[in-house]
Symmetry: C2
Subunit: 333 residues, 2 copies
């Protein structure tokens, strides 16, 4: 463990170590601390809505029964940068406790049998959806710009094209994927990736409503539209998603330690628990830290702007629901 | 006035009318309401710190003795877009009164003898610096991105280059120019445009301090640095620049009518009045609306992000000043 304990706080040194590990001799560097997880305990996640998926000969995340999520390190700089962020963040004493809850718990890295069958280093994280059998999940990539100022011209050009073709540039965020549990028989509403790639402003408004509805649909302008029946439990209320986003915003107005390029916010809730319980069980988490850079004493204005835009969309939905139902006390934002 | 009164609220139609006016027959369209201002009343502004300057054969703004500022319409789409914005904004009943004060008063357009000697349409505005003989002025272009999503590829490439080479991309704003009055003998501290073009993070920190100091200097790391002697009068306090920026931020978190690409914030104060009076006379104004577009129901996350970044820089300076002086009540933000 000597390599890790030396210096994981400074992002750059840990990046270097991991880059070397990945490029040259993964096993030699990592095998000092390996507990190889046997393959039969692992499976591909049931509730992944965006990002790389595991498949035959394809690297992707795995989960086990104990509530851990194994994310394979990407072979280029991204993998080492993501580990560097988790190491820095988990040991950073300047993170307020109420903010730490927005990040997955980090358990270190582990070389283990990957979804491809060969050994590969993984980031070991809390499996965010393990507590619910049928979670509704939405992945929203935050920021009008998904590249950092130090990125290469080629990488910037590639990101800029995606940002302009998606809603990232105009709205400050894009919805990468979602699934909404609609009941035992109907199962999940889960639009395919092709649909998600083509979403515009009106689709985003519809999707954000679909997420809290019992009748989600990708059809616009037909029928009564999504019923938003869960809006006050999921988005509204003192523990709802809107209140959590506002809490996160307050931190982003002040924190100058990290810039979260191309990060996503994950929204999750369990419909059954939501309907049974008085309190919202909706959870907001930040994920995907492969492009986090040092803040250098500047706030992450790109993330903050996108977050504020998302907050405005969601608060509009909450306000409309209040107008329709005359609800007053239930949704406090 | 029929052309104007028809339809200036929708931005696009007014743009079209003005585009036609500029391209084809300016005088014929505008001469119905012209009061030609005689040349001897007009002069170039004394306190311009950024933007196009009037010169021999060069179009630039003019001012008169009655407190009006004449900005020549740029011959391409920018001129018509700026007029369209002023027309839309000045007749927009959804602008709160406390927000209207952040915008220059608009008096319409006028064809008049330009700085080049020929007739040209001008936007007639309040001359923001006319009330003070020796105003300290700073021009800060807000937003990490100075182009709108609908701009052409060539225009985006040009802006992106400038944004990346300046502090716009990393900080969310760039300081375009400033002048600081330092006294009768010393006059104004006014760094040249070459210096301004090369400013990085440390220069921005220095400049923001210089603006409220009696000893501004472009030299970093030499001597005690700027004294920030006016910080509590100019940035701090209930009427200071920081409080005004926070008020503006609250509006930007909510307003979805306009997106202010490549706009600037102008900070102004009169050192003499500041030292004489108990209340701050610092003023914040938004200027330069040639690239404003419809918000389409989305907040201006790009402007808001840059504004929040600027607020953080200035609140750091105010907080440091409080720490040094032990001041508590003077600066309330």
């Amino acid at each position: 463990m000597a390599v890790y304990s030396l210096s994981f706080s400074p992002i750059c040194l840990s990046q270097l170590v991991l880059q070397l590990a990945i490029c040259f001799n993964i096993q030699q560097i990592f095998n000092f601390s390996l507990v190889f997880v046997t393959v039969d305990m692992l499976k591909t996640p049931d509730h992944q809505v965006a990002g790389h998926e595991a498949g035959v000969g394809k690297l992707g995340p795995l989960v086990d029964d104990s509530g851990r999520f194994y994310k394979p390190l990407q072979g280029d700089q991204r993998g080492s940068e993501e580990v560097a962020f988790y190491e820095s963040f988990s040991s950073n004493t300047n993170i307020p406790e109420q903010i730490r809850k927005f990040f997955p718990v980090y358990y270190g890295t582990k070389v283990m049998k990957a979804s491809t069958g060969s050994d590969h280093p993984h980031i070991v994280l809390q499996d965010l959806t393990s507590a619910s059998p049928n979670p509704s999940v939405m992945d929203i990539k935050i920021g009008s710009r998904t590249w950092g100022p130090e990125a290469s011209d080629a990488y910037i050009a590639k990101c800029l094209k995606k940002d302009r073709e998606s809603t990232s540039t105009p709205l400050g965020f894009r919805i990468s994927g979602l699934q909404v549990y609609t009941g035992e028989e109907s199962g999940f509403y889960k639009p395919d990736r092709d649909y998600m790639r083509k979403t515009g402003l009106d689709d985003v408004k519809l999707i954000l409503r679909n997420f809290v509805s019992s009748n989600p649909s990708s059809e616009t302008g037909q029928g009564p539209g999504p019923d938003c029946s869960l809006v006050s439990y999921v988005y509204g209320g003192p523990n709802g998603i809107l209140a959590q986003l506002v809490e996160l915003k307050t931190w982003f107005e002040d924190q100058t330690m990290y810039h979260f390029h191309a990060c996503s916010l994950l929204f999750m809730f369990d419909q059954r628990l939501t309907l049974e319980g008085a309190r919202s069980n909706a959870v907001v988490k930040l994920i995907d830290f492969a492009h986090v850079t040092d803040g250098n004493g500047v706030i992450d204005h790109n993330f903050l702007g996108g977050l504020c835009s998302l907050i405005k969309f969601i608060s509009n939905i909450v306000a409309e629901a209040n107008d329709h139902t005359g609800t007053n006390g239930e949704v406090e934002v």
